[in-house]
Amino acid sequence: MLRNIILSLGLLLAIPAFAVEPDEVLGDPALESRARELSKGLRCLVCRNENIDESNAELARDLRVLVRERLVAGDSDPQVIDFIVNRYGEYVLLRPTTGGANLMLWIAGPVLLLVALGVGAGYVRSRRRAGETPQDQLSEDEQARLKEIMGE
């Protein structure tokens, strides 16, 4: 009895455990590979940080089918993306646009790298110049203690 209940529960729960299903795959390999690439850049809206190519959710499947329909209808890649973004908003894009405030996101790394390289170069040069002026040293006691700690 209990076993039957568990089994029927199991059947009810038979959620598709699969991302791209065989029946979704397009006949034309070139179109299919474009569809796969596009899918990798689109977010499954009901999942946690999954793209629609990897997701098992129903909604992701709908989006995958939609992408393929647009491609078969002759849309270019950017046209497909525009179509999806118009419907679902920019939240669907895993690769954020560079427009508006997002510019900050994209240039933050390179800008900080340049600043860091500048500061680093300044530091290295100051260390080289420091060689020309004598530095004050540790006291003799401190030197002895240091030696001891360093095990020398």
Binding site: P16, A17, N49, A101, G120, V124, R127, R128, M150
Partner: protein
């Protein structure tokens, strides 16, 4: 016997409250003692740290006991366990939830505090007292967090007959041990933080400080490396399509401290050997733990996955945010006041090991920053620009990868440059062989591969360059003379030298694996009939049968599949689709044939109307190299850690350190 069982839970709860009180004492008394120079006040720190750890360990033990005996009068056990669950997962269920994982967090925090007390005999007494006080202040904050917002010992008035089971994705050996390692890493960095803050209070940082901090950083980094590796390996075999890294906020939360820990590891060398980069190293030590706290905040508040998750449970999120603000704010203010007093001593030329390590630190720190801004950008965009957007793998791959490529390119050169003053030309001549070898391998692969992918050859070049560069590093250190003599001397090099070379080679191997997997993976999706054979990249695959199998707490649809090379069977695999009725969740268990050069990765899907089954097949080249590289990196860290020079305390006891030690 319910009475004993009840006693244990209540005693565990009581021990936790006592530990909280001990932590408050330890956070205050030794600090005052160090300030006033009162030895007996300072000497409170050491026994307090031990007691704090023992009390927390008892409390953790009590909770584990409740899970193991399935005590359903505890709310936490009801929500996360089930009598039919295998014993391993009853135990790992202790930390497979918010409250229990925070208890593990403080357990490790107090363990590190106690270890700093036990092995800190060589530290100047005032520094030791301050380190233990700061460490205990962190404990106070987290004990309060647990007791006031996330108490694992909450009882139910009417216990149910059985529990609701642990999330089945977590019922896996890889994930059972993933959190403890990660926490050992995260929390291990707290000791570096405490050392930095204590040194800033003292106003003195010297070579000895660098030497004290390095082993702790190294240990934390080893644990983080293993923890991240385990998590990535788990994602690979459990999530059903063989990805190994997703740039998920939770993953990034562990990756940022790792990057900063690597930077700290290297800059502390400069402090120890050359007495330079002191103030920068202080900042890194503070930031490393800061990123651990940010990671804890991200994971525990759920703020990044959805702002609404945060709103659902604002108490915990705000509490951790306050902890973050107090400790980071306090430490950074202290840093701003005192850092200028930390004078650099070492002098070096523009081309030198020091400069190479500065470059290493810049690349790692900026890379960590890129991960950070990418992780929090959706939050910033929503809060300030009213835009709901996602930042996913395409951004991180594009913005982060160049830093790692640059790092891998300069690493072998920097590793062999001498301190103080070096000649770049000389280093390049020494690395000539390594460069030619790496280039030759990349060219052969470029010519052989069917696709014109740049990724594969470039990754292969970097991997080979790092591994052969590490070999050159050891070879140079063996000095001059006959090959036999040099080999013998090479074997006798200090373990730290070997550790460095092994860890660097490990990075190369990981890069190798990532490039191979991304560039040359084969995928096949199809419906197959039972008994039919199909070919994928030279392998014949047959679905022999599909059966229904009952596990201890799940039902499985288990395929039996054979893999053939020509007419020779090379593997028999059992991909599964499981359903956990209690937790109402399906999981996929891929069938994987692991090999040196490739994994064959099979996933079974749904039955089709015509009697066939949906099947996914992947050939994943070099997949195992990714995690092997991580293990080798950790091994290198272990070798370094075991170097005689770091057993500071042991060495000091032998020579009878003369520093005045407070009466104990």
């Amino acid at each position: 016997m319910p009475s004993i069982r009840h006693m244990i839970i209540e005693l565990g709860h009581f021990a936790l409250i006592l530990a909280f009180l001990v932590a408050i004492v330890q956070a205050v008394i030794p600090l005052v003692g160090a300030h006033k120079g009162w030895a007996n006040w300072m000497s409170v720190a050491e026994p307090a740290a031990s007691v704090q750890f023992l009390l927390t360990a008892f409390s953790f033990g009590a909770l584990t006991y409740a899970f193991v005996t399935s005590d359903f009068s505890l709310q936490l056990v009801v929500l996360n366990s089930h009598t039919a669950k295998p014993m391993l997962y009853k135990v790992s269920g202790v930390w497979g939830n918010h409250e229990g994982s925070m208890l593990l967090w403080v357990l490790i925090l107090t363990l590190f505090g106690a270890m700093a007390a036990w092995f800190g005999g060589n530290l100047p007494p005032s520094l030791r007292a301050r380190v233990l006080s700061v460490q205990s202040a962190i404990s106070v904050a987290f004990f309060a967090f647990i007791l006031f917002t996330s108490n694992p010992f909450t009882r139910l008035a009417t216990p149910p007959f059985d529990g609701q089971d642990l999330n089945p994705l977590l019922q896996d050996p890889g994930l059972a041990f993933h959190p403890p390692f990660l926490y050992l890493g995260y929390v291990g960095l707290s000791i570096c933080f405490s050392f930095a803050v204590a040194a800033l209070i003292e106003g003195r940082v010297d070579a000895a400080w660098g030497r004290w901090v390095r082993p702790w950083t190294l240990a934390a980094w080893i644990f983080l490396t293993i923890g991240i590796g385990l998590g990535s390996w788990w994602a690979y075999y459990e999530l059903g399509w063989g990805g190994f890294w997703f740039w998920d906020p939770v993953e990034n939360a562990s990756f940022m401290p790792w990057l900063i820990a690597v930077a700290l590891l290297h800059s502390a060398i400069v402090v120890e050997k050359r007495e330079s980069l002191k103030s920068w190293t202080m900042l890194l030590a503070i930031m490393a733990f800061g990123f651990s706290l940010i990671g804890t905040f991200i994971v525990r508040s759920g703020v990044i996955t959805s702002v609404h998750a945060f709103a659902n449970d604002p108490e915990r999120g705000v509490f951790i945010l306050m902890i973050l603000a107090v400790f980071m704010g306090g430490a950074l203010v202290l840093y701003a006041l005192r850092a200028s007093a930390l004078e650099a001593k070492g002098v070096f030329g523009v081309v030198s090991r020091e400069t190479a390590l500065v470059l290493n630190n810049i690349l790692l720190a900026v890379a960590a920053f890129v991960v950070f801004i990418g992780t929090i950008w959706p939050l910033i965009a929503e809060l300030f620009f009213d835009r709901k957007l996602s930042v996913g793998p395409p951004f991180f791959n594009m913005a982060f990868t160049p830093f790692m490529v640059a790092l891998a390119l300069i690493l072998p050169v920097g590793a062999i440059l001498p301190w103080k003053r070096a000649r770049l030309g000389r280093a390049l001549v020494q690395l000539r062989g390594a460069f030619v070898l790496a280039l030759a391998m990349a060219s052969v692969v470029w010519a052989m591969q069917a696709e014109r992918s740049v990724l594969g050859p470039v990754g292969l070049f970097l991997g080979a360059w790092l591994v052969s560069g590490a070999a050159v590093d050891l070879w140079i250190r063996s000095g001059r003379g006959a090959i036999g003599d040099r080999l013998r001397r090479m074997l006798r090099l200090p373990r730290a030298d070997w550790g460095k070379a092994v860890a660097h080679a490990g990075l190369g191997i990981t890069i190798f694996g990532i490039a191979g997997l991304l560039a040359w993976q084969h995928e096949d999706i199809r419906v197959t009939q039972i008994g039919d054979r199909f070919e994928v990249a030279g392998y014949g695959i047959v679905l022999d049968s599909v059966d229904r199998v009952e596990g201890p707490n799940y039902l499985s649809t288990m395929g039996t599949m054979t893999v053939w090379r020509g007419s020779k069977q090379i593997a028999k695999l059992h991909p599964e689709k499981r359903i956990y009725p209690v937790a109402k969740m399906p999981t996929t268990e891929a069938g994987i044939d692991s090999g040196m050069l490739r994994d064959i990765y099979l996933v079974i899907g749904d039955p089709q109307q015509d009697g066939g089954w949906a099947v996914r097949t992947y050939i994943k080249p070099l997949a195992n190299w990714i995690w092997s590289g991580a293990i080798i990196m950790a091994l290198g860290g272990g070798l370094s850690l075991s170097d005689r020079r770091y057993r500071v305390a042991a060495g000091a006891r032998k020579t009878g350190a003369a520093a005045p030690v407070p009466a104990e």
